[in-house]
């Protein structure tokens, strides 16, 4: 018999159906939640306040990202896998091999424990596949109505193994702009899941680790000038960010940009421009035009970037502006949007 039960004063189980405020109180329940849900899946050593990492040869890169996606589970992924891949990808965009992550969880009172466990197990799976360890973490529980089920923040450390500088200021006039695949899957997968818009089959998020593709480019000895993962604001916004940072004009070619038919259809229905829709498994690559074919060759041999194509070039102008040659042969301006894209009324 359980000793607590013998004392006639039962302690609620951490493995109950829902997370309660008591799980965030710093006491036995919190320890049980950490042990049975987090440590069990992630293998994180929870005995001390921090993780000590072994020395590495090379410069270190760090980054942090917060994840507030709703719903927590969507076709092609969930907030856990997203939290791992998002931070890995930010490291990869700096050319760094992801080494270790830390994770913070803000849990809303009432979240089903089964959902939390599913998210954490998904994180563990994504980390294992990507070869990174989640070495430290934190959990807090907030009152019902003060969160959206679950928010996750991850920070990462990566290792820059080469003496390279991947940065907008390395971009040069005449460089090629390469897009790693089709656009808009993640944003539309989440939007369709949130709004109950059924596509058959459902649109799946493209969320994935981009490190294997970046590693392959670097291993091939290509002179990568800049990388950017096309998350919030999509390809258009990222192009504008790079053009502005570099102080150079970028010219895109609409005919070279692909959008899967169900994604295009959902965007049409809602009046959204796929150039601005978020992706979680796509990036743009800027490198010397003479190396574009070699880069495409490398990327097409990687599973997550089979659809890579040259989508534009860096022009000679120095206005920091992005323009797009439409399929009709006309030109238009590609600006940064002022806020979120709003569905049209008619």
């Amino acid at each position: 018999m359980d000793p607590d039960e013998a004392a006639g004063c039962p302690v609620p189980l951490a493995t109950g159906e829902r997370v309660t405020l008591a799980h965030g109180g710093g006491g036995a329940l919190m320890h049980e939640l950490v042990r049975t849900v987090f440590a069990a899946a992630l293998g994180t050593d929870t005995r001390h306040d921090g993780a000590v990492l072994d020395p590495v040869a090379g410069r270190l890169v760090t980054t942090t990202d917060g994840f507030v996606v709703r719903p927590l589970f969507f076709p092609g992924g969930d907030i856990g896998a997203l939290a791992v891949h998002g931070t890995i990808n930010d490291l990869a965009m700096c050319g760094a091999r992801p080494l270790a992550l830390s994770a913070g969880f803000i849990i809303e009172e009432g979240l089903p424990v089964v959902d939390l466990r599913r998210v954490v197990e998904s994180m563990a799976d994504a980390a294992r596949r990507a070869g990174v360890t989640i070495v430290s973490g934190d959990t807090k529980v907030v009152e019902r109505g003060h969160g959206d089920g679950l928010y996750v923040t991850t920070s990462g450390i990566g290792l820059l193994e080469r003496d390279i500088r991947i940065h907008p200021d390395a971009v040069r006039p005449g460089d090629a702009v390469i897009l790693s695949g089709d656009l808009g899957r993640h944003g539309m997968a989440v939007l369709c899941a949130r709004e109950g818009l059924a596509a058959d089959p459902p649109i799946e998020s493209d969320q994935q680790s981009l490190w294997p593709a970046v590693a392959a480019l670097l291993d091939a000895g290509l002179e990568v000038h800049c990388l950017r993962d096309l998350t919030r604001g999509g390809f258009a916004t990222c192009s504008v960010e790079i053009a502005r940072s570099a102080g150079l004009d970028i010219e895109l070619d609409e005919a070279a940009i692909t959008v899967a038919p169900p994604v295009a259809a959902a965007c049409e229905l809602l009046g959204l421009d796929p150039l601005y829709v978020a992706n979680e498994g796509r990036f743009m690559l800027v490198l010397p035009a003479a190396q574009a074919d070699a880069a495409i060759d490398v990327l097409r041999r990687q599973p997550g970037t089979a659809g890579a194509a040259v989508a534009g070039r860096v022009g000679a102008g120095r206005n920091g502006r992005v323009s797009l040659r439409t399929r009709l042969g006309t030109w238009r301006h590609v600006p940064m949007l002022s806020g979120a894209q709003l569905p049209r009324i008619c």
Partner: protein, 364 residues
């Protein structure tokens, strides 16, 4: 994508551009009525494919843009009330009144919710009988039938906590007002295809006849728009002025009888003030007396008297096609989508927003 790709085909667009060039022997000025058409023209750069003498001027067909400041102010006052859930299409969130916008009202604690249909607002009313649920009914004849349906259902279900702030407008009286403006330059119209899908085309016959202007019912894709332009110029060159349907896949002469019956049951034409055009008789849709209990204006007080708009914004002249967005001294400098001075810069259908978003800056 079926029903889209064939209407964006570069080959079909090039063929129509050649047809227009061969038909056109002198300069013509056409107005595309709908803001959705304006956006398609600017987004795809269609005006660059036209002969130099053909000018497209942008019409008043942006319901968000033509809603006058005093109605926006009333909406903002209602949305700020603690007992109200204010439901709106997303387009209206950032449109400035004289003091604020709905995003700001929401951030200050107003319960402002985005809906995709008035029926969603009705569902909110059914779920929250203790709250006053107000739907901001903006739009042309395209969105009015859905509002009518929601109001009719509210009465049938006895949902006394539901009301609508109606600012629905009708296209034909606005076209007449534009043609009567001194200095009007419009020689032909591309009528808004989706409005005609509801209303049919018959109510445009008298305008074409009385003012001697061709009116071509036109869709929204590049091929649709160039086809509309080609037919309009064809009529002008031949000296004809008729209503012609270039959007036959969506528009029948009688429109959508069911939708029109719904509108007739709930609304009647009434005078309405438009930004840029002023007050136009019969240009609005107002609730019939038997539905007055669902009128948010009666429930929460009428709008303040119209005030003269001051400042550099020329949205009124832009909405009537007298000026281009780039004629405005504030365009892209003091007036941007981040800090709009007028609705035409912030609405997704507004001409200023289209120019700011898609037009490459001209070399100084």
């Amino acid at each position: 994508m079926k029903f889209v790709d064939e209407f964006r085909s570069p080959a079909a667009v090039a063929a129509l551009a050649r047809t227009i060039a061969s038909r056109c022997t002198r300069p013509w000025t056409l107005m595309e009525v709908c803001g959705g058409q304006t956006h398609a023209i600017v987004r795809h750069g269609l005006d660059a494919l036209l002969p130099s003498g053909v000018e497209l001027i942008h019409g008043p067909g942006c319901p968000v843009c033509v809603t006058p400041a005093e109605v926006l102010d009333l909406a903002h006052r209602i949305a700020a009330r603690p007992e109200v859930v204010f439901c709106t299409f997303a387009d209206m969130l950032r449109v400035p009144g004289s003091a604020t916008d709905l995003f700001t009202v929401k951030s200050a604690g107003g319960d402002v919710r985005t809906v995709l249909s008035p029926l969603d607002a009705l569902a909110v009313a059914a779920r929250h009988p203790d709250r006053e649920v107000v739907f901001f009914a903006v739009g042309f004849e395209t969105t009015a039938p859905a509002t009518a349906l929601a109001v009719a259902e509210a009465r049938q279900r006895g949902l006394g906590n539901f009301s609508v702030l109606v600012t629905h407008v009708r296209v034909p009286p606005a076209l007449t007002a534009i043609l009567r403006e001194p200095g009007n330059r419009v020689q032909g119209f591309l009528a808004a295809g989706h409005v005609c899908a509801v209303m049919g085309t018959a109510e445009y016959d008298a305008i074409a006849r009385d003012f001697g202007v061709p009116i071509v019912v036109t869709g929204f894709e590049p091929v649709d728009i160039l086809d509309g332009i080609a037919r309009c110029i064809g009529q002008l060159e031949a000296g004809r002025a008729e209503v012609e349907n270039a959007y036959e896949r969506a528009v029948r002469r009688d429109g959508n009888a069911h939708a029109r019956a719904l509108m007739r049951a709930v609304f009647e034409p009434g005078e309405r003030r438009w930004r840029g055009l002023g007050s136009i008789p019969e240009s609005g849709l107002v609730l019939r007396r038997e539905y007055a209990q669902f009128d948010a204006e009666l429930r929460f007080g009428p709008p303040a008297a119209a005030t003269a708009t001051e400042g550099p914004c020329i949205s009124g002249a832009v909405l009537t096609g007298q000026r281009k967005p780039t004629d405005c001294p504030a365009f892209g400098t003091r007036c941007t989508p981040e800090h709009p001075l007028g609705a035409t810069m912030v609405s997704s259908e507004g001409a200023c927003a289209a120019y700011h978003r898609y037009r490459l800056p001209q070399p100084a």
